[in-house]
Symmetry: C2
Subunit: 141 residues, 2 copies
DNA sequence: TTAATTTCGGATAAAAGAGTCTTTAATTCT
DNA sequence: AGAATTAAAGACTCTTTTATCCGAAATTAA
């Protein structure tokens, strides 16, 4: 298993890639797909989830493609994960028990809760711009 | 997505359940399955992975079933996760990039590394006995 | 020894996630 | 207006995970 779905990872990598591109123009999905070695048709579908949530914006036609829907400072990794994989990761009980909560905690409730919250906060506090500025390498494939 | 596979969660819940049972006898898998609302045939298969690693021990026949393979102090959650889902969770890059490492880190390398290590340590430091002793409720379904 | 019970092992089925393909709609350029 | 390009949308296939089924092997009890 992995924490995030493959779709989500593709979406994250694409967003980071777009944030890294200097210009403000649309980039064809096929170009990104080739660059990041992601199946193009599949990526198209995934990015639709991000455009519907205004995280990205798309344009059809000759000079069309995809780009960030707002400035990279305003997009957090949490936004992207939430848009593609939903919020269950950040809510769900470690043991996947429906009724687990403060009143009827599962055996692992306490230790997992803080950990899960930390993860959510870490993703919320990491914007695309921060990521671009504070890394040494651009490795995205 | 979830951090752990369903198989792994079933395995964890069963192990905790067994640790909670006072006696030292074998418990039929069908009984556990019914109690924890897990498909019995599926659970049988999952538990085989744990018995092969001596985390649990099993016995066929009339008074047979399954029980912990050693004392609950000596079984950590890490052992169980590792036996069922493997170690990839604790090693893999956040963005699932093959070549990500210290030399060629992915954009998320640093922040994820410590987090992943913490999770591993948390699971290593949590034994079944600790879990049984330090919880208020027994909720496992 | 026979009957009952229970795990083991392999085959198969169902469900979910990942990936492909084709057609349509929007946009640009000539 | 017409041709070329590119995302959107839906149907379909492939793979992995989850779940079911059945016969065989081991163990207990009478």
């Amino acid at each position: 298993m992995a924490l995030l779905s493959k779709s989500c990872l593709y979406g994250l990598r694409t967003a980071i890639y777009c944030a890294h591109q200097s210009g403000n123009g649309y980039i064809p999905i096929s170009e990104i797909a080739k660059e990041l070695e992601i199946p193009a048709d599949f990526l198209t579908k995934i990015l639709q989830k991000l455009t519907r949530k205004k995280i990205m914006s798309s344009l059809r036609g000759v000079k069309g493609g995809i780009k960030l829907g707002k400035s990279s400072e305003k997009i957090s990794l949490y936004d992207i994960v939430q848009a593609i994989d939903g919020e269950t990761i950040f809510r769900k009980c470690f043991l996947d028990l429906e009724g687990c909560g403060e009143e009827t905690p599962c055996p692992f409730h306490e230790s997992w809760k803080s950990y899960r919250t930390d993860l959510g906060n870490m993703l919320k506090n990491t914007s695309l711009s921060y990521l671009i500025e504070n890394r040494k390498y651009a490795r995205l494939k």
